[in-house]
């Protein structure tokens, strides 16, 4: 069934707690590439999906430190490349280099965090199959959705039999 006309199954749940429960059940049932949608970061939801963000914070720290080292090196190099003695101070007057070292490091961390978030989220992305469903607009207000890409309607229905499902439908690709 390679030429499928269905992207996946979209399930709407009544509340954040119900969505976390349903996500756990679907995960246990072995559905792949699950995704859950909620209008705010629901505590425990991303853990239910079996995901933990490990990239952004360490990367921001490491790139920030590298950039800070680079900024310090630039200033150190510049004071020997164009020696200019002020008030008899040594050319490598490192305390005076610290403000810029710090600012450049922090700026790099900030940009890493912002662009890291966008790149890891695959944004900007103008099109996604979930946008086909008008009801999905509620994901940014009070809708709680579970998406099972590539699954069949029957399988998802069986899996969530015991759950308080509000709506379940197939999504066009």
């Amino acid at each position: 069934m390679s030429e499928s006309s269905v992207f996946g199954i979209l399930v709407r749940m009544p509340s954040a707690e119900a969505l976390v429960e349903a996500t756990r059940a679907a995960k246990r049932a072995g559905f792949r590439e699950l995704d859950a949608f909620a209008p705010f970061p629901v505590p425990g939801l991303v853990e239910a999906l079996g995901y933990r963000e490990r990239m952004i914070a360490p990367l921001a720290l490491v790139l920030g430190l590298i950039a800070a080292a680079g900024a310090f090196f630039m200033q150190w190099y510049a004071s020997f490349d164009y020696p200019y003695v002020v008030g008899g101070k040594p050319l490598n007057s490192w305390p005076a280099f610290l403000p810029i070292t710090f600012e450049v490091g922090v700026l790099t961390s900030v940009l890493t965090a912002v662009f890291g978030m966008l790149i890891r989220n695959g944004l900007p992305r103008p099109y996604h199959p979930v946008f086909n469903d008008r009801a999905f607009d509620r994901a940014s207000s009070d809708g709680f959705f579970l998406l099972c890409p590539g699954a069949s309607l029957v399988d998802v229905e069986t899996c969530l039999e015991e759950h308080d499902v509000r709506e379940i439908k197939e999504l066009a690709p």
Binding site: F37, P41, S140
Partner: protein, 449 residues
């Protein structure tokens, strides 16, 4: 439960009602008459700023009241003032996020927007003060044909890096906070144009749990560096003064003193905007009297730190045993700028003590008045630091008094107009209160019940 009392929300709010309420302010309701009045006046002032700047750049900065010995004058006073206002915006948002203060949700957007536009006004002044702003890139280490480098030991070069970093930081933080709300507006928009407009701004945000996880991580990183950025930016600006040997500038207390002063004026401005906006858009349920109370407390805390800094500055001046330092203080108390010093003391030391009373903090009108006097007081403080210290330094033959000219006042008025103009446009395009933070807060308060 301690956390419960912090939410300061009315109990029957739901995710849907709060979304409808805040997004509806922009999408379903016409702007109130007071908005139009503020918009038209501020737009006229912002246009005036363009004309004034054109005159200043074509004629030269000689139009300003700056000369030797007072070479820094108004532009620097106003830069420090605006930067200070910006700082509390960042700090409210970021530090309250890190410490999980839940009352933050109602006012963080206002604070971030305020920070963004205040930093834009602040950044304008050094450029104006350059006189030839098109040469600003001399401060950057660019590969020039003369093989020159910027002077890395100069506080003015540090300033350039600090303010640019802060500008980029503030705009990223604001945009990050707006991103999920733009998605909400996109999903609610009825007009084709509005749908495209917000879809562009939302970048295809889908409210996925994975999105949120990375979003929260990025926000945590941003919040974690916020406090160091705030401290470093105002600290570096204070070093412009403190690194020199001018009596009245050369105090080791300056960096923490400036940071406290910045936060004092910034919290005052947030309080001012909160009172004005809740009246203008009828947001009394979202920005409650408890929020005003918290803001009043923050104002009082930082005012007391500032007052302590005043006392230590005076103590240091007299303890130094340096007659030049004595002179700076005698001159501040009795010299040509004495009215400025005493007005500052009245605003920042005497009047703020009213904030000890809960009734004052919870009264919108009283808080508005105190916010205005505090901002005036902080402006006077920067004025007396910059003017009194340089107008009479080591050599009596060089003493002179400088006063701002009409052009100084026009530029200042123009940036005030620009700030209000940008803010007014902002509140019609973006939600005035962070919708996704409010939804999370509602979710949290339900769980505590």
């Amino acid at each position: 439960m301690a956390k419960r009392s912090q939410t300061a929300l009315i109990p029957d709010m739901t995710h849907r009602s709060v979304t409808e309420r805040i997004a509806g302010l922009i999408q379903d309701r016409k702007a109130p008459a007071s908005w139009w009045i503020a918009f038209v006046i501020s737009a006229a002032l912002a246009l005036m700023l363009l004309v004034v700047l054109w005159v200043v750049f074509t004629t030269g900065v000689g139009l300003f009241g700056i000369n030797i010995p007072v070479a820094w004058g108004f532009p620097i006073v106003n830069t420090i003032w605006w930067i200070g206002i910006a700082h509390a915006g960042t700090l409210i948002s970021a530090v309250l996020l890190l410490t999980r203060q839940r009352w933050r949700a109602s006012i963080n957007r206002l604070a971030e927007g305020m920070a963004m536009f205040a930093i834009a006004c602040a950044g304008l002044y050094p450029l104006i003060h350059l006189g030839r702003p098109w040469f600003f890139f001399y401060l950057l280490p660019y590969p020039d044909t003369m093989d020159l480098w910027p002077q890395w030991r100069s506080p003015l070069v540090w300033d350039f890096f600090a303010i640019s970093t802060y500008l980029i930081y503030t705009s990223s933080f604001l945009y990050l906070s707006l991103l999920p709300d733009f998605a909400t507006l996109r999903d609610r928009a009825k007009h084709r144009f509005a749908q495209y407009f917000y879809a562009m701004l939302a970048l295809g945000w889908r409210n996925s749990a994975l999105h949120w996880a990375r979003y929260e991580k990025a926000n945590q990183v941003m919040a974690a560096v916020a406090a160091p950025i705030v401290v470093s930016v105002t600290g570096i600006i204070s070093l412009d003064l403190a690194v020199s040997i001018v009596p009245g500038f050369h105090f080791t207390i300056f960096p923490p003193y400036f940071v406290a002063g910045a936060l004092f004026s910034g919290f005052s401005t947030v309080a001012l905007l909160a009172v004005v906006m809740r009246a203008m858009f009828g947001l009394k349920n979202l920005i409650t009297r408890s929020h005003l109370d918290y803001l009043g407390c923050m104002m009082l805390v930082f005012a007391l730190v500032v007052d302590y800094a005043y006392s230590q500055e005076i103590f240091t001046a007299f303890y130094s045993g340096d007659p030049n330092y004595f002179n700076v203080y005698y001159d501040r108390w009795t010299g040509p700028y004495a009215p400025i010093w005493w007005s500052m003391i009245f605003c920042n030391v005497v009047l703020v003590q009213l904030l000890w009373f809960k009734r004052v903090r919870r009264s919108p009108l009283a808080l508005l008045c105190l916010a205005i006097t505090s901002n005036i007081g902080m402006w006077l403080e920067r004025f007396q630091i910059v003017f009194t210290s340089t107008h009479a330094d080591f050599m009596p033959s060089a003493w002179d008094t400088a006063w701002p000219t009409t052009w100084d006042w026009l530029v200042y008025l123009g940036t005030l107009g620009l700030f209000v103009f940008l803010l007014m446009v902002f509140v019609r395009v973006a939600p005035l209160v962070s919708i996704h933070d409010m939804r999370l807060e509602i979710h949290g308060s339900k769980r505590h019940e």
